[in-house]
Assembly symmetry: C2
Homo-oligomer: 430 residues x 2
């Protein structure tokens, strides 16, 4: 199996000023074509350390892919280090120089000598043009056929170059026919350890497909990854494993692959020709924002009210003044009144309301920071939930948003109320 | 200067299923105390490769910090690899075992043998307790005093352990007196190349403080980083450089360090004892969500209406039916009517409205996907902006949200309307 190491270049990565998303993108594209990533590295704009890193990586793997360090600024010495590590040399590439010149002419800007240097590329090698920016990419070929491929660090430029230029080259270079296909099963309301317990024997015994559990943001994904010569063959290997896992998990699967809680909500409502509205206090519009994220949300989403102030809860959602006075803004009674108001005023079939204390101030012994009430109303009795989320203001709001979306999905699925939506949440009967 | 390499562990990192944010956090915390990060690496859950990586890193640097690979699942062999690379051995740590047992008792869950293994820790070494999760961290000490510190991969657990346990240990271990202090100047509306041009000579000539320009999401930051024995000495080195840079940049600086556009908006309004309301269509609640992100937003934020549907624009914001009919929902007239409606109905001093076409469908020749109108109203004439944002639905909504926040800030600052808010946006006179 072909193996690659990835090196991302930039001092800002080592200072922690920038999170490296490029290497995840490259790794994912390589996994898709069945190339094994041995390791990933980040180094600063330091040609000696970069050269050492490249030499080490070329010893271990068949090739190295770098991102970053190709800009016009003075400290971009990537190409010199690549040439030294691969025994290639830099030559002016005329076609690339013309492309850079044209780009500058188009933007009515003057071109500097630094920009001219961007057309100096390793020989022997291959040029990877960059239709989205000035810096061309390259592949430098060492005598033994191992290689270093260099791409720019700007994500938009890098991604296009990876998919359109480098992936086809790698497929040919390694005569790749093996692909990796991944199926992701998304779950809500099942703790990671419980999920582990239910399918542990499967992921212990299965090498291909490989099975992994990934927890994030209060939900867990089960990933099934199969290697095969074609995507169809991989899918055929995944199908029986997926069936077995679904049986073991039972209730709590809300979707697969690209599906999100919010896309599932929009789909269910569209199938039923129903609409939804939101009334948010502590989540501040984040639930409505998540629904609008889904293309075609306009078919089912009427709109929402962010009722941050009590006057607004009264005037825009008809929450009775005596409810606010007697029970307070953060109460199950207010949550239900907000949801009812939103449903009626916005003309929706279903409405959700949130009201809570995100902190850092405003907590009391009875109503601590982190307390959030949720209410869902349609025809019939409202369903309400109470949660106390840990963490700071950002954590609490993020968890409340996710829990609110989960509550909508569960409500629409008319699902068993005994299964918790998140570990922090419980159903409340009034 | 003390040097460290960072190793993040997890097969999902090499498959690109997860973006590594942990290493950026660790790197940033190290930069703050004046520790040099030589390189960062990611390896899979593979003990042989991990051991090799650790040995190499210990050859080059004074110590290694790892994250991940401490969970209870079967393939977490990090500690065995660390012991092999450092010549330490694993022993059961009684206090950690009791802490894990108590945690499980508290959650009413049964503890497995895998969880018991989490209390096996390297000797000689130091234990880093984990108040936020089951897996304790550790520092394994090699005979020559080089070390490997291991922390869990869950960001919340790792961050607390890094700041509360590992940083104090490192300060003592390396007798650190040198600190790095960073000052970040945030700008809006100035392209990166233009910012470069204005301060290029400064960042070419200055080694300490070091100056860097970082572009992200339509804004640019200028970072000034000074090394000195004390934070005060570093601040004194930064001050004159900051003054010079501010003079060169002129208009467009909205804040420094932790300040965000939204926190500045809340601050300005609080100083003036004014309130704000939002009326959002294509941004779907994201502007209101950003305002609520700021602690204490309730002092100035009245609330908002997400008027995704035309009926809702009429009923909740009093947008006249004939404006919608004549000009359409995506028009400057509708934007102004929405903002006026929100200001009146929500009882705010200032209101912003957004209406646009986020796509993928719904575009026409006149009104293409990406077109967004913004309106700001207070007393007097409304100010309106038109923008056409590139990218997909997610990009367009993110840029529109940022541009909307920027427009509010600029409006409150009563700033020169000739300076563009983003490269995609222009002021429209009606």
């Amino acid at each position: 199996m072909a193996s690659i190491e990835i090196v991302t270049i930039g001092t800002e990565l080592l200072l922690g000023h920038l999170v490296d998303t490029n290497s995840a993108f490259v790794a994912s594209a390589l996994a898709d074509i069945g190339v094994d990533v041995y390791a990933k590295h980040s180094v600063g704009d330091n040609p000696e350390r970069l050269e050492m890193m490249l030499r080490g990586a070329l010893d271990r793997a068949d090739g190295v892919i770098t991102t970053g360090g190709l800009g016009p600024t003075v400290d971009d010495l990537t190409k010199e280090a690549v040439a030294a590590a691969t025994g290639t040399h830099l030559e002016l590439h005329e076609a690339s120089l013309r492309a850079i010149e044209e780009r500058f002419a188009m933007m009515n800007r003057t071109m500097s000598d630094n920009n001219r240097r961007q057309a100096m590329l390793p020989v022997p090698g291959t040029v990877l043009d960059n239709p989205h920016g000035t810096a061309p990419g390259f592949i430098a070929l060492r005598e033994d056929k191992k290689f270093v491929a260099g791409m720019p660090g700007v994500p938009r430029e890098m991604r296009a170059m990876m998919m359109d230029k480098l992936v086809p080259w790698l497929l040919e270079r390694f005569e790749l026919r093996q692909t990796i296909t991944t199926r992701t099963i998304h779950t809500i309301g099942i703790p990671e350890s419980e999920l582990d317990r239910r399918i542990e024997d499967l992921f212990r015994s299965s090498e291909n497909p490989k099975i992994a559990v990934l927890a994030h943001g209060g939900r867990c994904d089960v990933k099934i990854m199969a290697k095969a010569e074609t995507a169809d063959a991989a899918k055929a290997m995944i199908a029986p494993v997926e069936r077995e896992i679904r049986e073991r998990i039972g209730y709590g699967i809300y979707g697969v692959d690209q599906q999100t809680v919010e896309s599932q909500i929009v789909d269910i409502l569209r199938r039923r020709r129903q609409t939804i509205a939101t009334a948010e206090s502590c989540t501040g519009g984040a639930i409505s924002d998540a629904l609008v994220r889904v293309p075609g949300a306009s078919d089912v989403f009427r709109g929402g009210v962010v009722a941050y102030n009590n006057d607004v809860k009264r005037s825009m959602l008809d929450v009775p003044a005596d409810i606010l006075r007697e029970h307070g803004a953060v109460s199950v009674e207010t949550a239900v009144a907000m949801a009812r108001g939103a449903r009626r005023r916005l003309g929706a079939d279903v409405a959700i309301a949130t009201t809570g204390i995100a902190g850092p101030g405003g907590g009391t012994e009875d109503k601590p920071v982190g307390l959030v009430w949720f209410a869902l109303v349609a025809d019939g009795e409202p369903r309400t939930y109470r949660a106390t989320f840990p963490g700071d203001r950002g954590d609490i709001r993020a968890r409340a948003t996710m829990a609110g979306l989960s509550a909508i999905w569960r409500y629409l699925e008319r699902a068993d109320a005994n299964v918790p939506i998140t570990p922090f949440m419980s159903e409340a009967r009034r």
